[in-house]
């Protein structure tokens, strides 16, 4: 039994913290969130040089070959600084290629994703806003020499800057035990593929509508088996959810630290506000939220790395808890800061908004609690 991080993982944490403190300051975050891309080539190249863009891809595809416990460490550090940019989107697209793709497709894309030459996205959800097979109405119909895709995707992370987008489309009716979904790789600039950036509450996270207007693709665009996307997609979703939970833990931890530091120095009625139990006890509640979210996330990361039978349950528990916890913690952070916490100038709103966008990415707490209920055979 060892519920802790290794020396190498602690080193990764230390170097990531230093890197982001230098390269991803509040000023930088605020510049990026005002711009459509949300990332600069320079920053993206630096992430690649650190090996972080290919951290979890096998070495044969240009990755570092590490696991999700390692990625958890990195994502916590990204969450601490509310890092903008298409890291999560590219991870989603990359994992879809890794889980579903042929050796050729993996060789074509993963090394380029790992070295920062290309970015990826995954277009799954639609106006139905469901992360499951029933929510997919977009169709892919066979043509003489390939496929014809039509439909509208919504809540797609960073598709507007992706070099390649993995699109989930229906190739058969949704029946019990046969959801009928397939994955397709759509390169940037394909005629009829129209991503549109949407204004979002969390400006550090870029969401798109993607209209597929009779998009014609060659037969080689099919990613994995026809009608066989559900199994790889559930693995992608499990892993990406762990990564997101880790990022949420990092953000919540940072809010707790900001709030605690402020409560030590802010004086009211001649005493630091942190000496009042009304403040102290709420801070203690924040800590419990953060620690529980971490425990569940760390276990889920280990569970997906080790492929243990209860990994899906572990992931749903983590996301259910982290969704509530980050929201509660960031709201408490604003409350305990008082008026300054409500300003644009203070960074708290960045975390508060990130908590809200993360809450509804990959399913909210209610969604995952129901999954937990199913998985424990309730």
């Amino acid at each position: 039994m060892d519920f802790g991080f290794s020396e190498e993982q602690e080193m990764l944490r230390a170097s990531a913290r230093k890197f982001f403190e230098n390269e991803c300051t509040s000023t930088v975050v605020r510049q990026r969130m005002e711009e459509p891309a949300g990332v600069t080539d320079d920053f993206w190249t630096k992430l690649a040089e650190q090996g972080w863009l290919g951290l979890v891809y096998p070495e044969e595809y240009g990755g570092v070959g590490l696991g999700f416990v390692d990625l958890t460490v990195l994502m916590e550090e990204m969450g601490r600084v509310v890092m903008p940019g298409p890291f999560l989107a590219t991870l989603l697209g990359g994992l879809a290629i890794l889980e579903a793709g042929s050796a050729e497709q993996k060789k074509q894309w993963l090394p380029r994703l790992a070295d920062g030459k290309a970015k990826a996205a995954l277009a799954w959800t639609e106006p139905s806003a469901r992360w499951d097979a029933a929510g997919v109405a977009t169709t892919a119909k066979p043509t003489a020499d390939g496929w014809l895709l039509s439909g509208t995707k919504l809540f797609v992370l960073d598709a507007h800057i992706a070099d390649v987008t993995a699109v989930v489309a229906r190739t058969a009716e949704n029946k019990a035990g046969q959801p009928g979904l397939s994955l397709f790789l759509v390169p940037k600039g394909t005629p009829g593929f129209e991503p549109k950036l949407l204004p979002t509450m969390d400006q550090t996270r870029k969401l798109c509508e993607v209209v597929l207007r009779d998009v014609r693709l060659p037969g080689s665009a099919l990613l994995g088996a026809k009608d066989g996307a559900s199994a790889p997609l559930s693995r992608v979703l499990e892993r990406a959810t762990v990564a997101l939970c880790a990022e949420m833990c990092g953000g919540a931890q940072k809010v707790l630290e900001m709030t605690t530091e402020y409560a030590k120095i802010r004086v009211a009625f001649n005493r630091p506000i942190g000496s009042y139990q009304g403040v102290k006890h709420r801070a203690a509640d924040m800590l419990v939220d953060v620690e529980n979210a971490k425990s569940l996330t760390y276990y889920a990361a280990w569970a997906v790395d080790e492929n243990v039978p209860d990994s899906a349950l572990a992931v749903s528990m983590a996301k259910a808890y982290a969704s509530d916890a980050f929201r509660r913690v960031s709201a408490a952070g604003i409350q305990l800061h008082g008026g300054i916490g409500f300003t644009w100038e203070h960074d708290l709103h960045l975390y508060f908004k990130r908590a809200k966008s993360s809450e509804f990415t990959f399913g909210d707490a209610t969604h995952h609690r129901e999954k937990v209920a199913q998985l424990i055979s309730l």
């Binding site: 102290k280 006890h281 808890y321």
Partner: protein, 398 residues
């Protein structure tokens, strides 16, 4: 990060499991009623015998050094033992305060004579211990305790009162905190005594609780003469020694707590499968499913927190204020669970033991009422939050 057990630990688990299967007395709960009945001598004799049986099999005091009757094993084996005992629904040991708190504190602070005299009898349950800390005017603010000890030759004369003293009515010894220097700053004038409960002047009076049962007591001291050799850890050093005991308390009571919580949750789910509300089985009610799932998640949180604490212990680190987090999570989850049991029973939740209409003979009504004490005993939730705020987050004292 690794949640798997070593082959030796797996083997230990198998050994414990097999032994428990053979040795747990049938129908024990009817003979004991988990302290829910008026104390009966035969029930306590049964529990004494049970601990002795466990001890003879080598399953009490696993982490204690061999020279004091323990086995010198790690906290991992201790955790496995508690998990298996909970899963097998085995009776808990009676001398839990002695084994979990008094013994380790004596081993840490005792003189050679004290270490020879006490620990072995604690493990074998020959001497049962209780904890004399709280007083009518000193609960959360323990350092304001007023029980006095005045020196008279080789003896100290004790006068005062303790309260909420679990097991005092069957105890042989008490971990007693008394004020020995009324002029010193309040944390500096307290001494830790190993008190013989049979000394003249000690009176134990049972207290009837919210459940209707007398589980704990008031203890009165009227000119009780204690020999100075019964001081533990030095004169006026009682605060330090007492805190060590409390640290072990959270550890000792923490083991197995999560598994017991999980067993209670399994029971609650079974209850929800049987009960209906407006014609629908409760496990099919979406709101109920949400609440049960959240309880499941919270229960797992406690498991992982325990795993993190064990990791620290195995690396030789001392359990710190993090134990307060575990206490808080356990309390909140357990109370929520008990509230939900009442919600599931609906109007039937009003009926208690003695009615044929009572659900499951009214056992949930007892555990529901008993759970109100959880956020008070062993340090109130408010005190735990102060500890977290001040000692983990570094916030200033009020």
């Amino acid at each position: 990060m690794d949640f798997s057990l070593t082959p030796e630990q797996d083997a230990f688990r198998e050994q414990v499991r097999a032994w428990l299967k053979e040795n747990i007395p049938r129908d024990w709960s009817r003979r004991v009623m988990a302290s829910a009945e008026v104390p009966r001598p035969e029930a306590y004799q049964f529990l004494r015998d049970w601990q002795r049986t466990l001890y003879d099999a080598g399953f009490v005091g696993l982490t204690w050094p061999k020279e004091y009757g323990g086995r010198g094993l790690t906290f991992m084996e201790e955790l496995i033992l508690h998990e298996e005992m909970a899963l097998a629904k085995a009776p808990q040991i009676l001398n839990i305060l002695g084994v979990g708190m008094a013994g380790p504190t004596i081993i840490a602070y005792g003189t050679e004579e004290q270490k020879k005299r006490y620990p072995a009898k604690i493990l074998s349950c020959e001497e049962i211990w209780c904890q004399g800390y709280s007083e009518p005017n000193a609960g959360s603010d323990l350092a304001s305790l007023q029980t006095r000890a005045v020196k008279d030759g080789e003896y100290w004369v004790i006068n005062g009162q303790k309260v909420w003293t679990s097991l005092a009515h069957v105890s042989d010894r008490m971990m007693l905190l008394a004020r020995t220097d009324p002029d010193a700053p309040r944390h500096k004038g307290i001494t830790y005594f190993l008190l013989d409960m049979r000394l003249p002047g000690v009176t134990v009076k049972p207290l009837k609780q919210i459940t209707g049962d007398p589980e704990f007591n008031e203890v009165f001291f009227d000119n009780v003469r204690v020999h100075e050799s019964e001081i533990l850890g030095g004169l006026n050093n009682g605060w330090q020694v007492g805190l060590t005991t409390l640290m072990y308390e959270r550890l000792a009571l923490g083991f197995g707590l999560q598994v017991r919580l999980r067993i209670a949750l399994d029971g609650l789910i079974e209850l929800a499968r049987r009960m209906e509300k407006e014609g629908r089985v409760l496990t099919k009610d979406p709101v109920m499913r949400q609440k049960i799932a959240q309880l499941w998640i919270d229960t797992e949180c406690l498991k992982y927190l325990g795993a993190r604490a064990i990791t620290k212990l195995l690396k030789g680190e001392i359990p710190g204020p993090e134990a307060s987090i575990g206490k808080m999570i356990w309390v909140e989850t357990h109370q929520k669970l008990q509230e939900l049991a009442m919600e599931i029973e609906g109007p039937y939740s009003q009926l208690v033991r003695g009615s044929d209409w009572a659900v499951e003979s009214g056992v949930w009504q007892y555990t529901f009422l008993r759970s109100r004490a959880n956020s008070i005993e062993g340090g109130t939730t408010e005190v735990q939050k102060n500890i977290i705020g001040e000692r983990i987050l570094g916030l200033p004292k009020g």
